[in-house]
Symmetry: C2
Subunit: 143 residues, 2 copies
DNA sequence: ATGTATGCAAAACATTTGCACCTGG
DNA sequence: CCAGGTGCAAATGTTTTGCATACAT
């Protein structure tokens, strides 16, 4: 149950937090902006403030529950942390995001960091391209 | 001569543009924020506005003269485009940026994009870690 | 109860834009 | 001369913060 995730993160179990977790959970494979989360909750009849969405997302990030990505464009997108590390490929037309993992790349990264004398903590890899989906068309907002 | 770079980019040769190009050129291996460029030019006695710095950087980017990166943290950093593609490794303590290129990684990226049905346009890869420089200490601003 | 969370409005940032004036070719 | 460039101030878009109230435990 999600309440437990919150508990173990040292966060009180409150309506906004549960609703946000639920939304992120039900938005499989989706990467949402704070604004999108806010709008969807409002449309669903919830009472929540945009500031709270940002605050909670930051807390979730600190707790390792979500990851914040800065793809192109001003807004950050948030993704529920479900399982192992992966990188992203983003369609520059429709904005769709897919995930992938490639051990060969990971290995090369570790080798490169070591060669350059860095203790590797983290990395971001994002590919940008055009996907081949039939319905792929320029679209911006989430409903 | 830098004037020529501007000319062939369809941009008039003006003071601000030349000064900015110079600064970027003399800042070898450096990745500067718009604000940092602005401050350095002001300190150097130049008369320039922050808005102009942003405008010119955008034009430079469109002309392929500079690249804009969104490393962690709010501000974008700009780097003079000198030669071939490369990726970055950033020290999370001192902010130092090093560049690298790895053909194996590039190759895997192309393969991944193809497998997922994307026509690859671009990518960003940034490693974050701690460098082993003697003087590596938390520092934020450029002088 | 009591320390945390929340909503709202205002603040803080980074970046962009409108506009009157200046300048390179 | 004149289209394009510039500085300044104001606008924008996103994220953060202050504060009084509301809620979880």
């Amino acid at each position: 149950m999600e309440s437990q995730d919150l508990r173990s993160a040292g966060l009180k179990v409150t309506g906004p937090r549960l609703k946000m977790l639920e939304l992120l959970e039900n938005t499989h494979g989706r990467h949402l902006t704070a604004e999108a989360i806010y709008r969807q909750l409002i449309e669903a009849g919830e009472e929540i403030g945009l500031a709270t969405v940002y605050r909670v997302l930051t807390q979730f990030e600190a707790a390792g529950l979500v990851t914040r990505h800065h793809f192109e464009g001003g807004q950050a997108v948030f993704e529920l942390e479900r399982g192992p590390h992966h990188d992203h490929i983003v369609c520059i037309r429709c904005g769709r995001v897919e995930e992938f993992y490639d051990e060969a790349i990971e290995k090369r990264q570790r080798a490169i960091a070591e060669k350059l004398g860095f203790k590797l903590h983290d990395h971001t890899l994002t590919l940008y391209g055009e996907c081949s989906r039939p319905g792929c068309q320029r679209q911006n907002s989430e409903s």
